[in-house]
């Protein structure tokens, strides 16, 4: 099983995908290349073979030999692209992208690491009750970018909902407030097509966080090519299509349910008594989508933040400092109280 290194035509050094230019740039001679112009440094299968798993202590690691410097790479089971620890050459583990693991699509990184840091820095500062340690430059520096494995599902959903709709009107009549509620028995049936519903294919990346950085701009999605991996970390999926399907079905059913609930848009509220929604003809495309991950610790508990590597959307488990909240609450309470007694007293006195 071989490791691919993409080489510069001029100087044979490794080339990586440069985010700002959206092209490949040689790290040594700065030559630029489009995807079609890249030459693969051939690495014969004989020179590099997957060694037996020697480390009993870390059963999830496999060993590979770096074709640039000959040293041994230790990779986690799902790592598909990484850097050699010794010579820092960007390496792509071809076998982890082959067969069932060959992705169909990729969205290349749009934000550089520095931009990601800036976005995150601005975002965390806006979270008023977050601990101050999270907002320092040192913590922000720990961001790392990675291509995450995703299943993008197309499907059709059809079904119906039945329940009760209410129209509420309220008005003032003399000394009374009158509230009138009209009740309707409603049924709505329909169907819709959905395209590219993402389900993340990695068990250890929390689904809630991954959904939080959606949506991705699929208009910028390209057919997958190994070259894009060069210079980045990437993981292959460990949640296969059949296991990802139930997650997708859940989301798709909820989408149609909401669309049906709000169709016509005349009711103040709708409560559903029975429903039946089925997902049909799911088709999945395995794709690589760019994200930045940051894990910070607060009170010895990890807090993970995910940044969308294309759009910059951020979502994370921000901790809140309880004492900050209490102090803020008390301050606002006192300030408002003082202003209202003086202002109220003034109004009372002078009117």
């Amino acid at each position: 099983m071989s490791v691919k290194i993409f080489a510069c035509k001029n100087c044979s050094a490794a080339i990586t995908f440069n985010i700002e230019a959206q092209k490949w740039i040689c790290n040594y001679c700065s030559a630029e290349f489009d995807k079609d112009e890249i030459k693969e440094k051939t690495v014969s299968d004989s020179g590099v073979e997957k060694k037996e798993d020697l480390s009993v202590k870390l059963p999830d690691l496999d060993e590979y030999v770096c074709s640039a410097c000959g040293s041994v790479l230790l990779c986690e089971e799902n790592t598909a692209a990484t850097f050699c620890l010794y010579c820092k050459s960007p390496t792509v583990i071809k076998s982890r992208f082959s067969g069932e693991f060959k992705p169909r699509y990729i969205i290349p990184f749009k934000l550089t690491e520095k931009e990601a840091q800036e976005y995150y820095s601005a975002w965390i500062k806006k979270r008023f009750f977050a601990p101050r340690s999270f907002k320092t430059a040192k913590e922000v520096d720990n961001i790392r970018g990675l291509y995450a494995p995703y299943w993008l599902f197309d499907c059709k959903v059809s079904g119906y909902i039945e329940g009760e709709g209410r129209i509420v009107r309220s008005w003032r009549s003399g000394d009374y407030r009158v509230t009138e509620t009209k009740y309707y028995d409603i049924k709505r049936a329909g169907y819709a097509d959905y395209s590219r519903i993402p389900v993340d294919g990695s068990e250890h990346l929390e689904d809630e966080l991954m959904e939080g950085v959606e949506p991705f701009m699929f208009s910028e999605m390209k057919d997958f090519a190994l070259e894009y991996m060069s210079g980045f970390l990437a993981e292959k999926y460990d949640l296969d299509e059949s296991k990802a399907l139930p997650f997708m079905q859940n989301r798709a059913q909820k989408f149609l349910e909401t669309t049906l609930k709000t169709a016509g848009d005349q009711y103040s509220s709708v409560s559903i008594n029975s429903k039946n929604l089925s997902v049909n003809a799911p088709v999945a495309a395995y794709s690589m989508l760019p994200i930045y991950i940051l894990t910070n610790f607060y009170k010895n508990k990890p807090h993970r933040f995910i940044l969308n590597g294309q759009t910059g959307k951020i979502y994370g488990q921000t901790p809140y400092v309880v004492s900050k909240m209490i102090i803020f609450f008390i301050t606002v309470f006192l300030a408002t109280w003082i202003v209202s007694i003086f202002a109220g007293g003034a109004i009372y006195a002078f009117l």
Binding site: E164, Y184, F255, A263, S340, G345
Partner: protein
């Protein structure tokens, strides 16, 4: 004027977020010019309406024809001034005959029937009835307590003038008698109103709401916003509503009584205090 200055101070304070800047006469900038202007307008409107309200009333009802036109005007002006200054509604009623109604009741009917009285229903009505030769001073609201010790002195003070048919002098002397005790117990000061606000629930509720809402808003997006909706992944125009059924069931109507502005505390209801005699 003081009120106006206080409001401007608060605006400056909130704009610059520091006490030192608020004391300096820093120019506020364009947006706050409009708020300043609006506030000035509002306050002027308030100041205009308040005194106007006090002077629009007729205070001398000379049904007994005891005074000349000019005397009525003079006394009216004096009563206007004292009423406004001391926040107490003053009236003088004269009559040829009360038709058996006691002067006290006459004063009460007049005062309550015409909804006189300042916000805490404070007022004084002097009744002079030629028919029975009664003079009566009726006090209402806060004025009851203010004048309780003084009523007889005042009556004794003006009775000689009434006997001598010097009605104008009597009434002017009456007005001056109003000022002295009222001076001692004037309308509640601004600080007393502040204390009243501080001990009542509305201020606490407002402060609690403000604190809850602001803390809630800032905690709301702690994790980040969720942008995905039910339409995000839907193929445009692919949604088809194949069946709808809306069947009317019933209507329920609820009526809740909304209490109108809470009645202020009125000691003694519709009664009055005071005293009087013959002249």
């Amino acid at each position: 004027m003081l009120f106006y200055k206080i409001i401007i101070f608060i605006i400056k304070f909130t704009k610059h977020y520091s006490l030192s800047n608020a004391f300096i006469n820093k120019p506020l900038g364009k947006s706050s010019f409009y708020s300043k202007f609006f506030l000035f307008f509002l306050i002027t409107a308030i100041f205009i309406t308040t005194p106007a309200g006090a002077s629009a009333k007729q205070r001398v009802f000379d049904n007994g024809s005891l005074l000349s036109e000019e005397e009525i005007v003079t006394i009216q002006q004096v009563l206007d001034r004292v009423s406004a200054d001391y926040d107490t509604d003053l009236f003088i009623l004269t009559s040829t005959s009360l038709n058996g109604v006691t002067p006290k009741k006459h004063a009460e009917d007049f005062f309550w029937g015409n909804n006189h009285g300042t916000r805490d229903e404070s007022g004084v009505v002097l009744v002079v009835d030629m028919g029975e030769r009664d003079v009566w001073m009726a006090t209402f609201g806060r004025a009851i307590q203010t004048f309780e010790p003084e009523v007889q002195t005042i009556i004794s003070g003006i009775t000689p003038d009434l006997t001598a048919a010097q009605y104008s002098d009597a009434f002017l002397k009456f007005s001056s008698y109003m000022e002295k005790p009222l001076l001692e117990i004037t309308k509640p000061t601004y600080l007393e109103y502040v204390k009243k606000m501080a001990t009542n629930w509305p201020a606490y509720i407002i402060a609690l709401l403000a604190a809850l809402i602001s803390t809630g808003v800032l905690s709301f997006n702690l994790k980040g916003a969720k942008l995905v909706t039910n339409k995000t992944y839907e193929v445009p125009d692919s949604f088809v509503l194949s069946e709808t059924r809306d069947t009317y069931l019933r209507t329920t109507t609820t009526r809740t009584k909304v209490s109108s502005s809470s009645s202020g505390s009125s000691s003694g209801g519709r009664s009055s205090g005071g005293g009087g005699g013959k002249f």
